[in-house]
């Protein structure tokens, strides 16, 4: 009797498991297929794409590239602009957030607690709330078509300060700060030489997310950058929808692939840290 129920149980378990694996493999394919088709179609000619679906690459990559670059799409400029903005944003965001978090954890100043509450409050302000005023302000300064207005606001990144403060609370012991003081190290030097290396795991995780977020940002760059020389890759994606590439299907897919490849590389190199980072960022209450 007992072994019979156990047998049905293991059978049910196996059935259950098989079902779960089928669902998971299906979802995994759903994640892969659109990108797979994108990469494959980037190597196919327009008539081939018109003839139907294929999962195997073809040989028209170079011709598609010629057509793509021959019109207004300039992937190298886009790559440069995206890189400058994302790298600048990342540096500003992680360095100044670490500094602010350090000030919140180590020093006992009068407005420490109110300032922290304030940071939590401004964490969820949507970018759209200030877009019109921000544009007008930058327009008056003559800062449209400039990378700086897309980089400098990252100095105030409340969500990252919040995360780094949590990290510091767990990772920092005051004895380190004390002994640095005894050794005659200035406060700013202590932060740069001793604290920042301690914070490296948190800095690296946040750096990945800031970089990817900034790289993918469309709304603000679209508003501020009107000259083609300053376009970032997400703005260039917009060009692919226009009439110029109407029937050049292969080139459209190639353009899309070019905007996605840097992200795929970053993702597969760092996926472990990214997956961990998502989980870490959430358990913040």
């Amino acid at each position: 009797m007992y072994s019979a129920t156990k047998k049905t149980n293991t059978f049910a378990l196996k059935l259950n498991r098989t079902f779960i694996y089928i669902v998971c493999v299906f979802l995994a394919l759903m994640s892969i297929m659109p990108f797979w088709i994108m990469f494959v179609n980037a190597t196919r000619s327009t008539p081939q794409i018109q003839a139907g679906l294929s999962l195997l690459p073809s040989s028209h990559l170079m011709r598609n590239l010629e057509v793509l670059v021959g019109k207004s799409f300039d992937p190298l400029t886009g790559l440069m602009n995206s890189f400058i903005i994302s790298a600048g944003t990342t540096l500003c965001a992680v360095y100044f957030s670490a500094l602010t978090a350090y000030a919140l954890v180590v020093y006992n100043w009068r407005f420490r607690q109110p300032f922290f509450t304030f940071i939590v409050l401004i964490m969820l302000i949507p970018a759209q709330a200030s877009a019109v005023g921000f544009y007008q302000f930058m327009y008056q300064l003559g800062w449209t078509n400039n990378h700086l207005p897309l980089i400098l606001p990252a100095i105030a990144s409340p969500a990252i300060v919040f995360f780094m403060r949590q990290y510091l609370l767990g990772a920092l012991s005051f004895e380190i700060v004390e002994s640095a003081r005894v050794d005659g190290s200035g406060e700013f030097a202590t932060f740069n030489r001793i604290i920042l290396p301690i914070m490296m795991p948190a800095v690296a995780t946040q750096a990945i997310f800031v970089f990817v977020g900034s790289w993918n940002n469309l709304f603000m760059p679209l508003i501020l950058l009107t000259k083609q020389d300053y376009y970032t890759l997400p703005i260039m994606v917009n060009l692919l929808r226009g009439d110029i590439y109407k029937t050049e299907y292969g080139s459209i897919y190639l353009g899309l692939s070019l905007t996605a490849i840097p992200l795929f590389i970053v993702y597969f190199l760092l996926s472990r840290y990214i997956i961990e980072g998502v989980a870490l960022g959430s358990v913040k209450e």
Binding site: L124, F134, F137, F219
Partner: protein, 326 residues
């Protein structure tokens, strides 16, 4: 020579180190928000306009948006519809996968690889994905149409993007597809934070998987689910890239969202900065209310916990005859 043993106060460094943050916030965030709010009450429109005046009826822009502007109302409704259509399956699938992946008895292998693949779409530029899907669903020639004909579901090419609900469905699907992995990772982290002893005790008491899920897991991740809900709502309010690059809000404005409205009013056509600013403020207020709900719920719990802790310590202190050691 007197010994200099005056203790140095370091507190000023707290102010100094926070200064860059505060300055950047004032210049790039607070001032633009206040400026946006101001513009909402003025007649600022047109390219290269530098002068503007407060309207005779300062609330005209808001009144126009809320009571007369069909498109704005439609954009808010669309934003809501698309968000709901994306969030229900997103949370559902994420919960299901969380239940499977955290179930020790099922012992699902390859979780690492599945997690990486499920999260992958989230990293790729939303704009790229939107244009990709609009190419995949293209008419008359596109991969989805080819697939339809290969499987014999349709002999004629189908123009998917002409139908309002299909277009909304695809935009919602893209949002769902980009975010369910993210939600799943957060929920799994939440479940891993639940005390495993609870599950062991339940198993000894004969609770089955479903009972454990509904009686331990769900209550245990309530707060995290709330966090996911509110952050997703605030993110949903800002939905821009996907509908903008998918069909520019079409067909028949059925995927036209609130953020697209702001963008189109301010930076295209008539350059109605004032109306866009007023719309931004309305959006900002909605986001603020949502955030307030989130903070109220999260803070309440913490405050209650601190209070309880304090009480416990005081009680313990009394028991020890008034000697407080904390």
């Amino acid at each position: 020579m007197p010994l200099r043993r005056r203790s140095i106060s370091y507190s000023r460094y707290g102010y100094i180190f926070c200064l860059p943050f505060v300055l950047a916030f004032l210049v790039f965030s607070l001032y633009p928000i206040l400026y946006t709010a101001l513009i909402g009450f003025t007649d600022l429109k047109g390219v290269n306009t530098r002068e503007f005046h407060i309207l005779d009826n300062p609330f005209d822009n808001f009144k126009n948006l809320l009571f007369e502007n069909e498109l704005f109302r439609k954009s808010i409704v669309n934003t809501g519809i698309i968000w709901i259509l994306n969030f229900i399956p997103q949370l559902g699938i994420a919960l299901l996968l969380t239940a499977w992946f955290t179930n020790k008895r099922l012992n699902i292998r390859g979780q690492g690889a599945f997690k990486i693949l499920f999260y992958m779409p989230n990293v790729i530029t939303a704009g790229t994905i939107a244009v990709l899907f609009s190419s995949l669903f293209a008419y008359p020639i596109g991969p989805v149409n080819s697939l339809y004909q290969m499987l014999g579901w349709s002999s004629e090419p189908v123009n998917f993007l002409l139908d309002k609900w299909t277009a909304r469905g695809i935009v919602s699907f893209i949002q769902y597809w980009m975010w369910y992995g993210h939600t799943m990772l957060i929920l799994i982290a939440g479940v891993l934070g639940i005390n495993p002893a609870l599950y062991e005790a339940a198993a000894i008491d004969g609770a089955n998987g479903w009972q454990q899920f509904t009686k331990i897991t769900l209550p245990g991740i309530k707060t995290i689910m709330l966090f996911v809900l509110i952050t997703s709502m605030i993110g949903g309010l800002q939905m821009f890239d996907i509908p903008q690059l998918f069909q520019s809000g079409g067909p028949d404005n059925s995927t036209y969202t609130a953020s697209m409205f702001i963008y189109a009013q301010a930076f295209k056509g008539q350059y109605l900065y004032n109306r866009a600013a007023a719309a931004s403020m309305i959006l900002f207020l909605i986001a603020a209310v949502l955030s307030a709900i989130l903070f109220y719920m999260l803070r309440d719990r913490d405050a209650a916990r601190t209070k309880k802790e304090e009480k416990r310590i005081r009680k313990a202190a009394r028991a020890q005859g008034g000697v407080t050691h904390v």
